[in-house]
Symmetry: C2
Subunit: 224 residues, 2 copies
Amino acid sequence: MIYNEFKKMVTISKEEISEQILENHRDSIKVKKEKKVIENLIKIIDATLDICSKKSFQAMSIRDLSAASGLSRGALYSYFTSKEELLILILSQGRQIANQVLTEQIAKGSDPAEKLRLAIKSHIYLSEAMQTWFYFTYIEARNLPREEQKRAIASELYTEKLFIDIIEDGITAGIFREGNVILAASVIKAMLQDWYMKRWKYKSRKVSVDEYADYVIHVAESIL
Amino acid sequence: MIYNEFKKMVTISKEEISEQILENHRDSIKVKKEKKVIENLIKIIDATLDICSKKSFQAMSIRDLSAASGLSRGALYSYFTSKEELLILILSQGRQIANQVLTEQIAKGSDPAEKLRLAIKSHIYLSEAMQTWFYFTYIEARNLPREEQKRAIASELYTEKLFIDIIEDGITAGIFREGNVILAASVIKAMLQDWYMKRWKYKSRKVSVDEYADYVIHVAESIL
DNA sequence: GTCTATACATAGATAGAC
DNA sequence: GTCTATCTATGTATAGAC
């Protein structure tokens, strides 16, 4: 699996899922021409993620977003009813893409050892392709309304569960050593998160995506 | 080393360092009675960290802080000249305590293997004793003014350097295997951070500080 | 569909009384 | 030292013109 292939796949999913999102938010979006909506939604989401890689969502004003997206403040409110709804829109879209791609990839593996490698590699590739979104989600998680916060936590635990299941299967199959499965999955997840949260560090140290992924796989295999 | 001893030590450092901080910010603090200042500064800092475990520093209003600390808005401005200065005050105080305690602890180890264990254990204990502060620093790092952001990064890299040095010494001494030292230190750091960033998760899964610390040591020793 | 103008709310900071 | 009252800036959201 090569990173470029992976990135293409993510881009395709993005388009598909944009339409689903549009359906779910039909009430709030006042603009009727579908093409226009998707075009502008992408502008808006990209601009938001871009701004929020530098400051928090809270600190981003609608004025900021207007300037960065090229739409007027008034026009922006044709695409969402409140700033908070924009936040929810972004989160749910990203979550859907991420879960879909990740699950697809893992299914390609035939045994636990291969599934583990695939899960690690595709998670890191995914967070590379959608870095701003992953960063955004991690940082903004606690600023969400209750309901949305629960979804974020559920999503976090779901990803971790993918790893727990793989590890348990591996132990049953006699491929992995016995040990604390939950802690093993937790530390693997911690390593995965470090890639998108500390990208500035790895960039300055010239660590590539592949190098990092291989190292995490190496660590995981050492403890399992 | 027991966690309770450790916690006591941190509390003592807190008092000592409060005085240093007071010196550094003498100009901004209008209140003259030293005792009063320390008393209220602690109230203010604790209240801030408490509020900011639920929302961002930005989202915390001076009105919120006034309510939580028991001081009026006007009185608060006798202890700092701007909200941003309060932020800097908290960060620099915490950083000093953390660096001091950590360095002290590591120095107690006699060989690289022991130093590594001590470094891991004391970092996790430290982040347990000062959890709100560690969380706060991680989350707020990017919302800082340039100068302060540089200090945060320097501090992050300093901690990592502690690990890099220990690992390198260990390799030279033939205790640890050859390998990518920077990546090894990075993933250890990632695991340490997970403890204070995902405390809700470990709490709900009933993972204790000691159990987690032992596991991280286990992982580190597996790869080294 | 998008813009400009503006209403309305909230937050940071200060002045001056106590 | 601390409080109350208040100024000013900034930000969200809407109305109505184009």
